[in-house]
């Protein structure tokens, strides 16, 4: 706003404040229901119980083992599902775009991915309990086919790291499919022809041409998946009932009742999450810009 007013090169010589009246309702809404709540948490994390400024909460964030564990568990689950979902989603997108599968399968997969990436929260948790819970369908299937009882003979547990990761995968890899399918379409036929004319094998084409072009896009999407899992609350809460202490569950407990016995520390915990989300979104948009050099 100020920049437009001060910039002498601007096409409008005087700052025309009347034009800005048209966007005031939007800014007002954003300030009231998005900016202020965020600022409240930031301000709260720098305030002690007596209402004075302090950085003790931020420092304590790095000393409290239970909080560090929660962050670490969330980061591990988000990274595992981002990498796993990213690779699997990429292979699926590959199979329906350049992988030579019939066209109708492509639209079926894209439609299904649209649905599955939006299918989360309580219904998703219940679906996985019916699948991999103690009496779940697949649990019974494995028992009947291989004679292995997942819950007694292996350390598998749906309400743990791997269980939650498998559940998150249900919305993670479809998201990857949705992002990667257009990117794979962006690979130009000429590149492949040029590579083949120069005597490159299929492997060489993929390793030296296609993959480097796609890499920023793949990494960027994986970061997006990371953020997608990192901010998830409802699915984990419905699945584990709050027993698996990921960071969003801990923050939920702090909102319900001051379990840390220090409101400031609770705010700092929330702010730490926002910082991690912001870093991953910045990483995503940086990689997105790089990938646009070649694709589209």
């Amino acid at each position: 706003m100020a920049q437009t007013a001060l910039n002498p090169k601007s096409s409008t010589p005087a700052f025309d404040w009347k034009k800005w009246l048209g966007v005031i309702p939007f800014f007002l809404f954003a300030i009231l229901f998005l900016v202020l709540p965020s600022l409240r948490l930031i301000a709260g994390s720098f305030t002690n119980n007596e209402g004075q400024f302090t950085i003790a909460n931020i420092l304590q964030l790095f000393q409290e083992q239970s909080i560090l564990d929660a962050y670490w568990l969330s980061i591990r689950i988000s990274a595992a599902t981002a990498i796993g979902g990213g690779i699997f989603g990429f292979l699926l997108a590959y199979s329906v775009t350049v992988g030579g599968l019939p066209k109708p399968l492509r639209s079926a997969l894209i439609t299904f991915s649209g649905v599955a990436s939006n299918f989360a929260g309580v219904p998703l948790a219940f679906a996985f309990i019916a699948t991999l819970g103690r009496t779940g369908f697949v649990t019974a299937l494995i028992k009947n086919l291989f004679g292995v009882n997942l819950y007694q003979q292996t350390s598998f547990d749906l309400y743990s790291f791997w269980g939650l990761s498998l559940t998150y995968m249900y919305f993670q890899f479809p998201l990857m499919v949705l992002i990667m399918a257009p990117a794979l379409d962006g690979l130009k036929r000429e590149w492949r022809e040029a590579a083949e004319n120069l005597g490159a094998s299929t492997t060489q084409y993929w390793m030296r041409v296609a993959f480097p072009v796609l890499l920023p896009s793949i990494l960027g999407s994986m970061i997006l998946l990371f953020g997608n899992a990192f901010g998830a609350y409802a699915t984990a809460y419905a699945l584990t009932g709050g027993r698996l202490g990921i960071i969003t569950i801990q923050i939920g407990a702090q909102i319900r009742g001051d379990v840390l016995h220090n409101p400031g520390l609770g705010y700092a915990m929330a702010m730490g999450m926002v910082v991690i989300m912001a870093i991953s979104l910045m990483g995503y948009s940086w990689l997105q810009k790089r990938s646009e050099r070649w694709l589209r």
Binding site: S107, N118, P123, A127, A130, Y170, A234
Partner: protein, 288 residues
């Protein structure tokens, strides 16, 4: 002799055809299909077995008959409708104005519409509760502007709809903005103005009908976010469908499975309609 040769040729063509079948593509595709379908199959299978040794829809009948289900589901639909209307009222004029007169505001508005990706639902509701559970005062005075929103029903409804508008902001804004890119906003506006139309008439009777496909896809995405939403609804304590389903899961087995599958079908319908209206441009939300 000749038949043997023909046999060999046929055999070879089958061989090359087999070689042309992309094995790994099929492998990944089938694996993906299994991942998609197994949980759904398990849920349906389970939901049909409420009565011992009988396959039937009893769990569905029970679930849909529950007055609490009807109440919460209608309430959630009402919230979704209010959210959609509020987002359209907020976003369409803003996006229109930016296109027409204020391109310099584009960057900052786009930045704001991306903020909900950085502030997940659990953080948003944390901040909303902390701000609006105490009275809003004019700074440095004791004059109360607004009673705490969380203490009365309409206040909570306003708060949760505002929260849902924020959660849907990235999707609604992008839909509307893409929709406006395909119509010549400037020419339409000038034509309407030369015919003596007011700003209100231009937006409601000229712009809105021209971007209806985009609006519909934004609205359906918002609907998909709001109807089953749990985080905001449970922390703000509203009688919505998401928290109801969660509580039902605590003490029932078959009805929640039935409702879960029904939710999946509902998401499917919403996404299918979007595909129909936007011509296959898949979109995705983030209300996990």
């Amino acid at each position: 002799m000749a038949s043997e040769k023909i046999g060999k040729v046929v055999e070879m063509s089958i061989l090359t055809r087999i070689r042309r079948i992309p094995f790994w593509s099929w492998f990944w595709f089938i694996l993906g299909a299994l991942y998609f379908l197994l949980p759904l199959y398990a849920t349906v299978n389970f939901s049909l077995r409420m009565e011992r040794d009988v396959i039937g829809f009893k769990a569905y009948v029970r679930a849909f008959e529950d007055p609490e289900f009807i109440k919460t589901f209608l309430y959630s639909n009402m919230l979704a409708l209010l959210t959609i209307v509020a987002s359209i009222i907020l976003i369409v004029p803003t996006a229109y104005w930016i296109r027409l007169r204020l391109p310099e505001a584009r960057r900052i508005v786009e930045f704001i519409t991306l903020l909900p990706f950085v502030v997940p639902a659990i953080i948003l509701v944390f901040g909303l509760i902390r701000i609006y559970s105490s009275p809003v005062k004019i700074p440095f005075t004791d004059t109360t502007l607004l009673q705490p929103l969380t203490t009365f029903e309409v206040g909570t409804d306003i708060l949760i709809v505002a929260g849902y508008v924020v959660l849907g902001l990235p999707y609604m804004y992008r839909s509307v903005d893409t929709g406006m890119r395909t119509v010549d906003v400037r020419t339409l506006t000038e034509a309407a103005q030369s015919l003596g139309a007011s700003w209100f008439t231009i937006i409601v009777r000229v712009i809105l009908p021209n971007i209806r496909a985009a609006l519909l896809s934004g609205a359906l995405l918002t609907f998909a976010i709001v109807v089953g939403e749990v985080t905001l609804a449970s922390f703000l304590g509203v009688p919505a469908f998401g928290p109801y389903l969660f509580l039902l899961g605590q003490h029932r087995a078959y009805e929640p499975a039935a409702l879960s599958f029904a939710s999946f079908l509902l998401t499917w319908v919403a996404m299918g309609l979007i595909q129909l209206f936007t011509g296959g441009q898949g979109q995705t939300t983030g209300a996990h």
